[in-house]
Symmetry: C2
DNA sequence: GTCGTTTAAATGTATAGACAAGAAAAACTA
DNA sequence: TAGTTTTTCTTGTCTATACATTTAAACGAC
């Protein structure tokens, strides 16, 4: 029978809420690998008994762990500890997954001509109401969906097929179709909580942590070629970039 | 008197939980700037009345918005809408804040010789139990704390003063003190929920979204010079990087 | 045995109520 | 008027309960 700490260091109990103390203790079991990847953790009812608190308090502790991608919950099934993250080289996710010996997969959601969204228009330096190509796809590694990528292409090219998008990096495909070379990329990263729609595409839970990686790609004349917005699952991947410094001397 | 939508599109009510519908509606008021930065939003009790739900449901809706950094809550005070994010150029946060016309501030937490943590040792290619210099500081913009930066320096230099750390970018300071040039940086980004300790240093709430930016800096001979771990507030800043592609042909 | 049904167990949503803690406004006192 | 105390309003924590939804196991009929 598992024993829980909780009341061990009562002298340091300085008004830390119960749900936090429980959360920290459960975190300890996971970090210390006492509960390894795939391990079932006690049910909410069992935790209620063991900690002598109400279910709401237990759920609040588990909520936090779930958001951080440490555990997987779903109704009907017991809650299990998650597996660690895959490092992903930014710019060229597809290529990088293959390089790591995993099987890259791509599911094309749509390739459509759409009106430019108001937040994308200034980045591409086009006026509103401009029609341009939108490519949306989900990239997976070993059949686990990891990234939702959507790209707005500045020029209206119509020779891009779903097959090409399924098998090629946008970093290669789009410049080739637009007959330009990419020279520069400006990317911004911000943490997000996944929406229900995003979570559905990524086969995980709404509210989980993710990174929104928005990139603007420029050609040699500093004209924007396309804007890419990638939603990356925070529980399965982290983004890795490499920078070289110009040596001055 | 404010009017809420909620029951407008009842025909599309396809089992979306109440707390989510409410959350989306509040989000709409914020995004549409109907509730601009600094605006007070109705109290929980008022929202209960207006939506005819229990307080728990309202709080659950607000929790999500708070985590995304869209609102600021604190006991005793009414809840207000937050101000937008600052874009931060990665590598050289201090410098970048100044360039944006904001007042950069630095508070040194400690400059100490410590035993290398087990997760840092392999990155710096040193053996365990090695003693090395740890620099910890909080960087702020216009007196708002934005980043907790902690750096482990591979070589044991002892001529670094708190004054230097307060006024200089580590990207310049450390290479100068170690008598090397930086040639390359490998950074990884992952979304996190701020811990209580981190939130305290950043004057925000535990559980808020943030980005953990871990960078390893190398010299010209590809030897690691230092490892920097930055915890960036997700509600106040986003990280921006710029990449140049090598033109081949 | 195999297919379909029932049952149990797990998480998800929602309610109502109680008390604590912090901050600001109101009332009071000097 | 100025300073202090009290009150009130706000968010934070916690409980207990109820029912819904999903999954898997147990059971039965064939």
């Amino acid at each position: 029978m598992r024993r829980f700490l909780m009341d061990v260091d009562d002298e340091t109990l300085q008004h830390i809420p119960k749900y936090l103390r429980i959360q920290q203790e459960l975190l300890h079991y996971i970090r210390s690998n006492e509960w390894g990847p795939g391990a079932k953790i006690p049910s909410e009812a069992e935790l209620c008994d063991q900690y002598q608190v109400s279910r709401g308090t237990i759920r609040r502790a588990l909520d936090e762990l779930e958001r951080q991608g440490l555990i997987n919950r779903s109704p009907g099934k017991p809650t299990v500890v998650n597996t660690p993250k895959i490092p992903l080289l930014s710019s060229g996710f597809r290529t990088d997954i293959a390089r790591k010996g995993m099987k890259p997969g791509t599911k094309v959601l749509r390739i459509h001509v759409v009106k430019v969204p108001p937040d994308i228009a200034p980045l591409l330096m086009v006026s509103e109401n401009t029609q341009l190509l939108l490519i949306e796809r989900v990239i997976s590694a070993d059949d686990i969906p990891i990234i939702i990528e959507s790209a707005h292409v500045a020029r209206l090219v119509d020779t891009i097929t779903a097959e090409e998008v399924e098998s090629t990096s946008l970093l290669e495909l789009i410049p080739a179709k637009c007959h330009v070379n990419l020279a520069r990329a400006v990317e911004s990263y911000e943490p997000i909580a996944l929406t229900k729609a995003q979570a559905q595409l990524l086969a995980c839970r709404a509210g989980n942590l993710g990174i929104k990686d928005q990139a603007v790609l420029y050609d040699g004349e500093n004209r924007p070629v396309y804007v890419s917005t990638a939603i990356v699952r925070g529980d399965k991947a982290r983004i890795v970039t490499e920078t070289s410094f110009h040596v001055h001397a």
